[in-house]
């Protein structure tokens, strides 16, 4: 049976999506550049914004690439690549993939080789992320013109609300990790400890540039612990 996950077909879709994102970025940049000149911004200022943002984005983009890598084990390369090129972020894609997999009686802990489950995960990741785009189509213009500004007056509560929602989600997955046995718990602790260490370095040693690496490196440390522990407990050697 052909492996849907890493099929040429999916790589071709990935290439198409990458082209779409490139085309949209270039179109918007050209239009903004022309308007910028018209309202009196200098080319030097605009060039500086472009080069500055591109270099600013290099390291976080490597982090996004690492997120693609972490999902590639279960889902192959193209689907995580597509999802993290448009709309997506790892904090959404991973829970969406896992809840969809569980609805089909499996988990992304395993390689998703069943085509039906794979397609269900692709549907869940995609449909789940459409809402923000619909809101933008409907409301971006009126938000910009100030009509909806009153809505978010209580910014303290809206910040807390997001934290509370995420905490609900995180605690659900932490709870289910407890059921994964010793290896899962060790992975969780290793990843948490690495993140804590990064937090100390960033705050106490003022190494703010480490911020972008904190999440991917913590995840990879946790996953490395899982691999090494399993290998050691099965009597193998590296």
């Amino acid at each position: 049976m052909t492996d849907i996950r890493n099929s040429t077909f999916l790589f071709a879709i990935g290439a198409f999506v990458a082209l779409f994102v490139t085309a949209q970025s270039l179109t918007f940049m050209v239009r903004a550049w022309k308007e910028g000149r018209r309202i009196g911004l200098t080319s030097a200022t605009m060039k500086k914004a472009i080069i500055g943002s591109a270099s600013f984005s290099f390291v976080p983009s490597i982090a996004i690439l690492l997120a693609v890598l972490t999902l590639a084990g279960a889902l192959g390369l193209p689907l995580p690549w597509i999802r993290l090129s448009v709309v997506g972020a790892i904090t959404y894609e991973l829970p969406a993939a896992e809840t969809a997999a569980q609805a089909f009686g499996t988990s992304i802990k395993n390689v998703i080789s069943d085509p039906t489950v794979f397609s269900a995960i692709a549907w869940a990741m995609s449909v789940g992320s459409v809402f923000a785009m619909i809101l933008i189509i409907l409301f971006a213009k009126s938000i910009q013109s100030g009509i909806h500004k009153a809505r978010l007056k209580d910014t303290k509560w809206s910040g807390l609300l997001i934290s509370a929602m995420f905490m609900g989600l995180i605690s659900a997955f932490l709870g289910s990790a407890l059921g994964g046995g010793l290896v899962s718990i060790l992975t969780l602790l290793a990843s948490a400890a690495t993140m804590g260490f990064f937090g100390l370095l960033i705050k106490k040693a003022k190494l703010a540039w480490l911020e972008n690496f904190a999440m991917p490196v913590s995840m990879i440390s946790g996953m490395a612990v899982a691999a090494v522990f399993t290998l050691a407990s099965s009597g193998g050697s590296l």
């Binding site: 084990g73 090129s85 609805a103 549907w123 934290s163």
Partner: protein
């Protein structure tokens, strides 16, 4: 003399029209991906199970989408919003990139100049991510056999505890008081019924977490 017959639309009007067209195209493309998979491989997941898999995450992420749209739209300006919400990775990349660019150029968000700098910044940021991802994916496609080796299998099998261990530290350190109730609930549920699926745990965790946070907020405990 008569005014020119051709009416030139302002930047603001065209950006909203074009932005909406691009956004609709983006919706068609993102939803076209699973559709293409289903059509090409002849696999259609049963709708009931799919909804059961979708609902728990939608319950959490759709309200977050509302807050993100209301918060980020005024910050990013029109062009930046239409571009940023298509290319994603907003809070971890696009928003900080746009804010840094506006600061460095000495312009404010929600001004005409801010709008231009933010759009250029988000465009440049998307292009960089695209270059890194395309290059990385091409290189990694040669590494696929390594990624699927038996030694690495337990590493990928523990992806979820790896993500949520790290995310847990981030959110607990941000506001530990919010995290006590949902964590206590999950540990309790795990002891009582260890096999509950996350599809049930997520809504339970979110409802308790939001409810307790709201109570604490109203009583000035947060």
């Amino acid at each position: 003399m008569n005014a020119p017959l051709k009416v030139y639309k302002t930047y603001d009007e065209t950006i909203h029209r074009n932005g909406r067209i691009w956004m609709i195209a983006a919706i068609l493309i993102t939803q076209g991906v699973p559709l293409a998979i289903s059509l090409r491989f002849g696999v259609w997941p049963p709708i009931g199970k799919l909804i059961a898999g979708l609902l728990p995450t939608m319950m959490v992420f759709w309200p977050i989408a509302i807050v993100e749209v209301l918060t980020f739209t005024p910050m990013l300006g029109s062009g930046g919003t239409y571009l940023g919400f298509v290319t994603g990775n907003l809070s971890n990349l696009k928003v900080p990139a746009a804010i840094a660019a506006m600061q460095s150029a000495g312009v404010e968000p929600s001004t005409k100049e801010g709008e231009i700098i933010s759009t250029l910044s988000i465009g440049a940021s998307s292009l960089m991510t695209n270059v890194v991802l395309v290059t990385g994916v091409l290189l990694m496609s040669y590494l696929l056999p390594v990624l699927e080796s038996p030694t690495l299998k337990p590493a990928f099998a523990n992806l979820l505890p790896a993500l949520f261990g790290a995310l847990g530290v981030v959110f607990i350190s941000r506001n530990w008081k919010i995290s006590v109730a949902p964590l206590a609930l999950m540990i309790g549920l795990f002891i009582a019924i260890p096999t509950l699926p996350v599809g049930i745990l997520i809504p339970a965790g979110a409802i308790v977490s939001i409810g307790v946070a709201r109570l604490m907020y109203k009583r000035n405990m947060l």
